[in-house]
Amino acid sequence: MSTLIKRAAPGFALATVTLGAVWMFDPALNAQPEPLASAGDASATGSASASDTGTSDTGTSDPGASDSGSSTAGQSTGSDCSTAQTATGDAAYTQWGPVQVEMAVTGDGTICSVEAIAYPDNDTHSARINSYAIPQLNSMAASKGVSFQAISGATYTSEAYRESMQSVLDRL
């Protein structure tokens, strides 16, 4: 047994050095996404500059995030958000856990505000991704409805977010 450990030792040593280098220098691993100022406030974060946080593995930049379009419900104009009802969507599952939204929506389907009330955030990967993805999603969903573009680096969460929204709209 001890000879086996002796034979394997160079492998262990080299692996440890490699891991140390990854731990210190891997750009994706060390990227610090800039947190958004007013997370959850849909109307104020329309122009959030979440350009490229470096966390993306797919590399495409996010057109939705840089779009500083209408700051309130984008789909249809003229509906009165004061009559909006608040509804909770179904949980939509990702491999990191369920995503669930709460929406203020008027009778004709106009979305006044959307907020994720449940999303995975206690594992390391989700905590890093969702700290910037969820506020963006909240803001994009409020302005564009379910047709918002998935956030790169948070594709699964974006899809689940959309699904949870859709479940509310389906109930109307």
Partner: protein, 496 residues
């Protein structure tokens, strides 16, 4: 350069009183002469080690231990570096996720190791031996199967946010969310099938062909699991290094499989010409083939190994059969001993000498350096004596070889005269164990008791076993009962 005659002069079957030692001395003399001249053939022969005491190959040997340790450390370390360790103690869904990720990584890595082992790359087989590769393959297979079950179950609970009751619904959501998860589920089911059919109890009730067909599906399972790891796994989404590391591991595995499956054929075709020059009948149904040509040297085969022989006639060129070397290879010539088992062997034995053949290999790790300085015991049955004969030639007096040779009758003991002479030359013993099975206690010619009676110092010896599967299995368990440590037992099956 060489004539087959140098391989051939040897006592006839059943000849007991042989005083000269034509084989070993002729070869040794030639090797020494060549060595003195510094010829390439002499160097090659010396490195192959037919000279007593020079039994260790200096060939390309690669210790797999540091590689396996390094690759496993990096892979599992990436789990820790990407938050696995932190999440493990975070509680709730994160803990489930962390366990799932670790189990999944371990399972995938074990599956890759398993594929490499079953591809039997030559550098690995030479170091570890086929029997060890098979038993390691079994360990990696079981690790992968258990790891996969843990991965799927904890993964489902993690996806449900740590709730066991929601895990089924979570699974359905994942399947709908991404085709990669559909592929992964298919991979899990296929891999489960492969594992179940390899469970000894089920395996026994299946034909080899059916089992093998199912087992080959393992390749598909590993491939189907890959995308969900790369595109949906926290480890590979979190670290750019991990992403490329993983692609690299799969690519390396694919290359090793390709190299070892196709490389043998390609190398055999590129080798200088080799010819089947003689077919010598040994015992009923057993014959020796002498193959000569410059290509034999580049094979660098060693005593105890086997090669896959492809006879280039219009009827036989498409099939390759594994045959054992039955003598230490000589410069430009080697000898195989073959049993007519009803497949292509009968046709091979009927082939007209002078026909061109291709040699693939060498394969197998039943070489005398596995003895690691211990005295040796060689147990062979029937044509399984062929590799024992070659091993014995590679052994020296320090190995104090004992040969137990099993056959139904004296007339069925192939290579008997040679075995006797070689054993005596090395200060060892040749013990024929003949007669119908009913003659022996419990119908077993090799019980722990009879083994110990024949070879009192059996526990100190390195034991090499080759014979038909059923007998071999019995011998292996009796050896264990006789107190021989597993690490000292080296065996090889014919069938593969």
């Amino acid at each position: 350069m060489t004539t087959p005659a140098e391989v051939q002069p040897r006592p006839a079957i059943g000849e007991r009183r042989v005083t000269s030692t034509p084989l070993a001395t002729a070869v040794d003399a030639r090797v020494r002469r060549d060595a003195a001249r510094g010829s390439a053939a002499g160097r090659a022969a010396r490195e192959r080690g037919p000279v007593p005491g020079r039994t260790t190959s200096r060939g390309r040997r690669l210790d797999p231990a540091p590689w396996a340790a390094g690759i496993a450390t990096i892979t599992l370390g990436l789990w820790a570096v990407t938050g696995g360790l932190h999440d493990l103690v975070a509680g709730g869904a994160a803990t489930y996720l962390s366990i799932s990720r670790l189990a999944g990584l371990a399972a995938a890595l074990a599956a890759l190791f398993g594929l490499v082992l079953t591809a039997r790359p030559r550098w690995l087989e030479r170091t570890a031996g086929l029997d060890r590769l098979i038993s390691w393959h079994r360990i990696t297979g079981m690790t992968a199967a258990f790891g996969m079950v843990i991965h799927v179950v904890t993964g489902m609970v993690a996806a449900a946010g740590g709730s066991v009751s929601g895990s089924w619904q979570a699974l359905l959501h994942l399947l709908a969310r991404s085709d990669w998860f559909v592929a992964a589920l298919a991979a899990a089911i296929l891999f489960g099938l492969v594992s179940l059919t390899s469970w000894r109890r089920i395996r026994r009730s299946m034909s080899y062909e059916t089992w093998h067909l199912v087992h080959v599906v393992g390749y598909l399972a590993v491939a189907l699991g890959f995308p969900h790891q790369l595109f949906s796994g926290s480890t590979f989404l979190s670290s750019g290094f991990a992403h490329w590391w993983w692609i690299g591991l799969y690519a390396a595995t694919a290359l090793i499989i390709l190299e070892s499956r196709l490389g043998g054929i390609v190398r055999s075709a590129l080798r200088p010409r080799t010819t089947l020059t003689r077919v010598i009948p040994e015992t009923p149904g057993v014959a020796s083939l002498v193959i000569t040509g410059a290509g034999v040297d580049s094979l660098e085969a060693r005593s105890g190994q086997f090669v896959c022989l492809r006879v280039l006639t219009p009827e036989l060129w498409w099939q390759a059969h594994p045959y054992s070397l039955s003598a230490a290879p000589k410069p430009g010539a080697l000898r195989l001993t073959v049993k007519d088992l009803g497949d292509g062997s009968a046709q091979t034995l009927a082939v007209r000498p002078g026909v061109r053949v291709l040699l693939e290999g060498p394969y197998g790790g039943l070489t005398v350096d596995r003895a690691a300085g211990r005295p040796i015991l060689l147990i062979g049955a029937g044509v399984g004596l062929a590799p024992m004969r070659a091993l014995l030639e590679g052994a020296s007096a320090q190995h104090r070889p004992v040969v137990l040779a099993r056959a139904h009758s004296d007339a069925d003991l192939p290579l008997r005269g040679e075995l006797e002479v070689l054993a005596r030359e090395r200060g060892g013993r040749f013990v024929p164990v003949t007669g119908p099975r009913t003659r022996f206690a419990e119908g077993n010619p090799f019980t722990a008791d009879s083994l110990t009676a024949n070879v009192p110092d059996i526990r100190q010896r390195a034991v090499f076993v080759c014979g038909p599967a059923a007998l071999q299995a019995r011998v292996l368990s009796e050896l264990r009962r006789a107190g021989v440590p597993a690490g000292q037992i080296h065996s090889e099956r014919f069938a593969w």
